[in-house]
Symmetry: C2
Subunit: 617 residues, 2 copies
């Protein structure tokens, strides 16, 4: 029996591809496998400690003990931090009976469970739907319960979640919705686990109710929580980025189970629009600090990028759903970009420090990744994604297996008709672009192995039996090899790892005239600590005449150190200043995901491009 | 007897220049005179209506009536809105006995007066110094009282202010300070009006106590309220912009009366640093929405500019103090920039709508100036500045009169030794750059007339008795004419009003490769409504080969309409896209201060500069 992972559709005719189980894909040593181990062995215990320290568990214990005098500690949605941690544990196969027991004990007799309202303000349940986060917390409780069932085989939490979900179904039978979308996608998964239609119906109802101004303007206007227009009418992602992304995730899930194409089409439109005008080169989304929102089209300041870690995680979850439904590799490309450049960047090398905001530029020294946050949504969100990460890497279709993300490990799948196939993947991706797939099990019949050819790979070869040929991706972006496979057969994919100098769309005012460097899926950045003496990141430019050179995992980029003194301390000048004297320097770029692990100082992804020929030696 | 205006030093040896009285300068019809009339006849009554509507007066009446059951309405510092309005009225010579009577009645027997704390939470006085704004409100009460005394000759409010200030002196004898600087500058003015040394001493004490972490980190860190380092140690403006500017204003005022040069030098250093790296081309200051703060050096995004109206006002107040102390025209230049491009821009043509945030770019339609704000600091702040504006335009020194700002009107002054001189100014500045000064009264002896030559005026002539000569500004930036003046003598100054294409410092990433257009003191902007059909402000560039043409108050700028479709909907591209097809268009720029009076749509001050020669016709 396969242990299902996140997103396990009941209805299969709405999806081009089907997910594999948690135990059908394994990640071996390497970029992601190492991070998954670190997540399990370091980050999850770290989070448990902080849930204790921050009072999150204390809140639950106080309610369980009916200690009504206890004061709630932390943010009003702090319960969700514990739920995300429980979800992560579930995906790793662990069911902490003690914590789940406290949760069951904390639940009110009618099913209600939210320590912020249970402690101190029980009479105020459901009185602040715009900002109260009660259904948001229910959503994360459900997702934890689903993970506990699927990953750990433990149904204790599911009973708690169902009781609360049933209460919500009664309370919201006629009206109401939550300011923070999340419960919609969760309810679809609860329907999938339980088979109870009412949960799917409630998810759809919450979607339908959105966008009619029910929540009021709040501090930031109704677009902040996507209540400014019906979900099917919105043509782009607006407002709070995490909210917008979770909402679209729920829309896709409801489509997957109901076949309501208007929801899918709206979600695709919104996602495409966000990618076309509201996404950083890292895949980060959310341009504004003040309301954690997407911002306007082409408003993508690198220095004030918000690019919240949770938005990156949500974008992976969303793109995965679209990938399953459409089978199109562009969604796997988007997942890859966000995984390597937001998810991986947000956690420190030690697995115990996290960025909430993933900026693309700093101008000088500053704080690095904290151990924890007052608003601690990000660390346990990372944990639940990492704990289930292998489930996002491969899938099956009617005719074979699709490999979407590249990491050493193994894949096993049951094809249509019950045929079992298996293969191993060997790669040190993304250090190199070579991925070798070796068939380890098959029944001898023909099936298709589909390997994603990332859009960024300009020249890709596929080598079979020692014969290399240029990959000819299908219309979904996959190199498909159909063979009568035998164990020991191998296919090698060689992706183009030539460094790429990337230009921004001319409408992105904030990085006009600048370029960024990428190699494979990795965005590179320039940290001050790596630059040669005298090269100040405030004043360097990339020499347009030069070609970046790969030296290990580092890029050496021909650059020019300019002299700001020529401006004489003025900020604006009427005259056209003579080109500043410059001298040639070699700038050093390293993968962005590693930044701020040594020092936290000036860093930039985008660097001005200098076309001037006369730069002195 | 001269009616003194804002900033009336008792000690004169610390200042190079001395202010003139409110009645010694008049503004006639023209840019500023018209605005001053509108302020008095439209804006001040508008504000009174809103103070009623928003509950600000109701709060005061409730406390005056000892109606302890009444709930406080509005922001916790709403009292200060009424005080700023009373200050404005004072400068216009009006003392509303009804409102002042309510204030006196609302004052507690020990002198305390703050309706937020008096209504509902009287026991919490002084418990939240970081965010409670109690001393901030006292500061504005004092300034209102000072204006009532100097401008309207009414001392009733002064008694109220002194009683509250004396209470504050007792409460804060040993420790404490306010999270929002303002009381410091106010206390110096109270000292000036009353001659009571204790008020000056308390101002100095509050400055000395700052920067030792007393206020705690709060939500945004101690730099938010300038409590991160001692005021004499800070080398630039940091944190909340209005707070930082008011604080420096207080530092200068304390210097002016005590001669403590360390305060002056720190304030000058901070101001110079802000102008060198943290100021928009409009003179606006404050780059971040989330905490209304200055932001980092060179962090000057035009689209997300905060540039709060109150910060612009505070910068005028600060620069005026530095101008008086140093006599240097660069401070008058800064005042002029902020007056024409922040203060003037913040108010609608009808005088009843106001910007709180003065952005330099919008990408599409959006909200315009509201009538009022929940946080209503800006409208009455504008009113108090406009009501006293003439006091900021001219000064006297030992040897004559200095004219700093240009507007039609009259100036009279008493020189050292008691000589009275007077002149009229005739100009339609800033439409033209011609300013004619005609002597209307003098005793026949020689004195110096100093006319500021703005730094932006590349070619300036002075014409006396029909003879024009190139202006030779002195080391403070003034064209000084010393004569044995007779009534009827005239001097004409011709400033260079050639449009200027201004480039940003290369470190300002956000507007790299773009230019702005200025003419005289005015920053121009491009509003979508003015552009020719087919010219979308998202895609236009300025043709580097062209020369802007002045057509009335409009600039016609040769431009290029680019074609974004060539990017095919992608945001980032590896290849170097061929230059997009472009066509030549004539872009229309109008003075920025007028923007958003017709439509609120795309607007930009900075436009990319296109050097490409091949743009098609």
């Amino acid at each position: 029996m396969t242990r299902l992972g996140p997103v396990a559709p009941r209805r299969t005719d709405t999806s081009a591809l089907l997910p594999l189980g948690l135990d059908e894909v394994t990640l071996g040593p390497g970029f992601w496998g190492d991070r998954q181990v670190r997540n399990r062995t370091v980050t999850l215990p770290h989070i448990r400690q902080w849930l204790e320290k921050a009072g999150t568990f204390a809140n639950l214990r106080a309610v369980a003990a009916r200690d009504t005098a206890a004061a709630h500690r932390g943010m009003l949605f702090a319960d969700s931090d514990a739920y995300k941690w429980l979800e992560a544990l579930g995906w790793t196969g662990s069911a902490p009976a003690d914590v789940i027991g406290v949760l069951a004990a904390a639940q009110d007799s009618d099913g209600y469970l939210n320590t912020h309202y249970q402690l101190g303000t029980p009479g105020r349940r459901w009185t602040d739907l715009a900002f109260g986060h009660e259904l948001y917390c229910l959503g994360h409780l459900i997702q934890a319960a689903v993970a506990q069932v699927r990953g750990a085989g433990d149904t204790a939490l599911l009973e708690v979640a169902c009781r609360f979900a049933d209460l919500a179904g009664d309370v919201f039978a006629e009206d109401g919705l939550c300011g923070h979308p999340e419960v919609e996608t969760a309810l679809v998964e609860l329907y999938r686990v339980t088979g109870e239609d009412r949960y799917l119906a409630l998810a759809g109802t919450f979607l339908d109710r959105r966008g009619h101004g029910f929540l009021g303007p709040g501090r930031f206007g109704p677009a902040y929580y996507q209540d400014h227009m019906p979900v099917r009418a919105a043509g782009t992602m607006s407002g709070h980025a995490v909210r917008a992304l979770y909402l679209a995730t729920g829309m896709i899930d409801v489509y997957a189970e109901t076949g309501d194409r208007s929801l899918l089409e709206a979600a695709v439109t919104q996602w495409d629009a966000a990618l076309a005008a509201k996404t950083y080169v890292t895949g980060g989304q959310g341009s504004r600090h003040v309301d954690e929102s997407f911002g306007d089209e082409y408003e993508l300041p690198p220095d004030r990028a918000y690019a919240e870690t949770c938005a990156g995680i949500a974008s992976v979850m969303l793109a995965w759903r679209l990938l399953l439904i459409t089978g199109h590799g562009r969604y796997a490309d988007a997942m890859e970009r966000a995984l390597f450049n937001v998810v991986a960047a947000s956690t420190s090398d030690d697995g115990r420090h996290f960025f909430y905001v993933n900026t693309l530029q700093r101008r000088g020294p500053g704080p690095g990744r904290p151990e924890w946050f007052d608003c601690a949504c990000c660390p346990p969100n990372l944990a639940r994604l990492l704990a289930s990460l292998q489930a996002y890497f491969a899938s099956t279709g009617a005719d074979g297996v699709q490999l979407h993300q590249y990491a050493s490990g193994t894949v096993a799948a049951t094809l249509a008709g019950g045929r079992r196939v298996a293969f191993a993947v060997d790669t040190d991706y993304p250090s190199s672009g070579r991925i070798t797939v070796r068939i380890t099990g098959t029944d001898g019949g023909a099936w298709r192995l589909a390997l994603r050819v990332p859009q960024w790979s300009a020249q890709t070869t596929v080598t079979i039996d020692g014969t290399a040929r240029a990959a000819a991706p299908d219309d979904r972006g996959y190199a498909v090899v159909e063979r009568d496979w035998r164990p020991g057969d191998s296919v090698t994919l060689d992706l183009d790892m030539t460094p790429r100098m990337v230009r921004p769309h001319p409408r992105i005012d904030a990085v006009r005239g600048s370029v960024a460097f990428l190699r494979g899926p990795l965005v590179y950045c320039f940290e001050q600590i790596d630059q040669p003496a005298g090269a100040d990141l405030a004043d360097v430019a990339v020499d347009a005449r030069g070609v970046p050179h790969v030296a290990g995992d580092v890029l050496e980029v021909p650059g020019i150190q300019r002299t700001p003194a020529a401006w004489g301390g003025s900020l604006y000048r009427d005259d056209d200043p003579a080109p500043e004297p410059g001298r040639q320097v070699t700038l050093i770029a390293t993968p962005y995901h590693r930044w701020a692990n040594r020092t936290v100082d000036a860093m930039r992804i985008w660097v001005p491009l200098e076309h001037r020929a006369e730069a002195g030696a």
